[in-house]
Amino acid sequence: MREGGSRGEALAGWLLTAPAALAFLLLLLAPTLAAIALAFSDYELGQWPPAWIGLDNFRELWMDRGFRTSFVNTLVYVGIVAPVSVLGGLGLALLIEGAARGRTFFRAVFFLPVVSLTVAMAAAWQYLLHPTIGPVNAALRLLGITGPAWLSSSDTVLLSLAAIGVWEGVGFNMVLFMAGLTAIPRELREAALVDGAQRGWDRFRLVTWPLLGPTTLFVVTISLVRSVRVFDTVAVLTRGGPNKASEVLLYTMYTEGFTFLRLGYSAAITLVFLAIVLALMLLQTRVLDRRVHYG
């Protein structure tokens, strides 16, 4: 476009991107490649040089009962948290959107867990769910029910963690859905009214749900990726216990890598984790994206 300035412009472009590019190479690209390389080695901290062992780490993962439990637990956790927090977020957004008053107030209430210190709130939940002195079981006792030991029984621990995960994430989804709802043209809802969509459900099916499509897809992907990354609550509350009933991918990776210092093995778990995240992103962009955009 500007003939004279193009050389200077290119120079400026390189200079301005150079710090970011350098940081990117050193702090993101190189370590990520190193992590991929580590996954094919038997590296343990302090043992140099590591040996290349090909797919041995992955073979071991496949046989490792602890890892399998961790993998299945993560799937179960994601399987609960993602759908519940997506539907819950949508429900809350619709409820608040139609409320006559108190929209800002309720939005703040449900969003508060998103900005709260997860570790501290996990501790608060631990107190709430304490088998003997926790208010939850105390309330159940009033109803004549003996509550379970929520976080220390292998039957309920994953469910309890999932409940905390939903509590933490639903407000985030709600805010995204509220933004999506305000983007729906008012005229379309009015057209649905005039066209004879008498009940709220008819209007939801005819206008709200189809027009929320892109938002929903985004929220679903985000919720899946966020819940695959569950770590804080496990690290604070259960440390994977009891008896590995709450082992999840990132926590297993953490203990293998930073407690047992088996970095190669830990890197292999990281790759499994990365593969899951990438698969979810691919699902969004390649498969579902086409079905929710009209235009």
Binding site: L193, V194, G196, Y294
Partner: protein, 372 residues
């Protein structure tokens, strides 16, 4: 006129918070009649239309359709069709599916409309088939037949407009509402669509209420024009009535482009109306200062009359506008394009084309504005 079926509005009032947007509005549209609701933006005309559609509820007054009181009835039960300013087509549905929505909502039960399951229920297929026949029937005269499989994003503005029209008429509404339907079209499409809308109106025979801020649309299309300003209908009459016999100064000022000339005049003790000291030939029972209204096309250059100074000319092709002064009062007149240029000229007008307004702004009725 007796009890008209069709649309009847009586004493409609509506406030948003502290702002009263509609004051005691009365309006009737007979079946088969085309009424334009004309007013500047923000005058409350769209609110009135939305009250008729059932999108808003009135604070006061009644809405009757086909003789039945529907003031509190749900929009879905009113059999009112509406064309929205931005068409409001469902972006995820094809043109055919858009047009079929009002039929599906009425003819299919909630279960039959359900995804997957609905198709399995008895009767769904047959109903859907007749629905598609109806869609084809309304699409054909609008030239939409080859476009029925497209989604709104693949249609031009004019095509979307016609899909919106088809969706509105497909169910034979008893009231047909149009909210500024031409405002998003370019000038060429506007005049063809204007004719199409009038044609559709004639075919359906519904009571049609057409909201617009464009007086040319209102005057050319409507049987009657209701002029609305600041939440009140000031006058409702045939296009000629509202243009030639405006009820008051505000209506006179709002209609006409360029706007009517309003001149300060004086009625003497004898009732003769004088402009700049010269008799106009008009007589009135009022005394004292008055406003004299003369349309630009009613003023003409003449060998004698009011001396005027020309200050500017605008050439329009088929005519020209002269900006001039009579004394200190500015006037605009529309004259043939060939009129010779001269800085000084004399102006006259036929007293029968002049309008007189009292100090309160109301037009002095014909009986009082006697012609000498």
């Amino acid at each position: 006129m007796g009890p008209v079926n069709g649309l009847e509005l009586h004493g409609i009032g509506k406030a948003f918070g502290q702002t009263q947007v509609l004051h005691e509005v009365d309006l009737a549209v007979r079946p088969g009649e085309f009424v334009a609701l004309l007013g500047p933006s923000g005058c409350g005309k769209s609110t009135l239309m939305r009250i008729v559609a059932g999108i808003e509820t009135a604070d006061r007054g009644t809405v009757r359709i086909g003789g039945a009181d529907v003031t509190r009835a749900h929009a879905a039960t009113r059999n009112v069709a509406m064309v929205f300013q931005n068409y409001a087509l469902y972006p995820h549905l094809t043109a055919a599916q858009n047009i079929a929505v009002p039929l599906a909502m009425r003819r299919l039960s909630a279960w039959q409309r359900a995804p997957l399951l609905g198709a399995l229920l008895p009767g769904t297929r047959a109903v859907r088939r007749t629905m598609m026949e109806d869609v084809a029937r309304v699409a054909e005269p609008l030239g939409l037949t080859p476009l029925l499989a497209r989604k709104p994003a693949q249609l031009s503005g004019g095509q979307r407009q016609r899909v919106a029209l088809a969706r509105a008429v497909v169910r034979d509404p008893s009231v047909f509402l149009l909210d500024e339907p031409l405002s998003n079209l370019d000038a060429a499409l506007r005049s063809t669509t204007r004719r199409e809308i009038v044609e559709i109106h004639r075919r359906t025979g519904a009571a049609t209420l057409y909201v617009t801020h464009d007086q040319a649309e209102a005057l050319t299309m409507a049987d009657r024009v209701a002029v609305m300003l600041a939440g009140r209908i000031l006058q409702c009459g045939t296009p000629r009535e509202v243009y030639e016999q405006p009820a008051d100064l505000r209506v006179a000022r709002f209609l006409g482009d360029p706007a009517i000339n309003l001149l300060e005049a004086e009625a003497g003790e004898d009732g003769a109306v004088r402009l700049e000291g010269r008799a106009t030939g008009l007589m009135t029972r009022q005394r004292g200062p008055l406003t004299l209204g003369i349309r630009p096309e009613a003023l003409e250059a003449a060998p004698e009359g009011w001396p005027a100074t020309v200050t500017a000319r605008e050439y329009l092709g088929e005519a020209q506008l002269l900006h001039a002064r009579i004394g200190a009062q500015p006037v605009i007149l529309r004259v043939p394009p060939g009129l010779a240029e001269a800085p000084q000229m004399h102006l006259r007008f036929d007293p029968r084309d002049a309008l007189l307004f009292g100090a309160d702004g109301m037009r002095l009725p014909a009986a009082e504005a006697l012609h000498a």
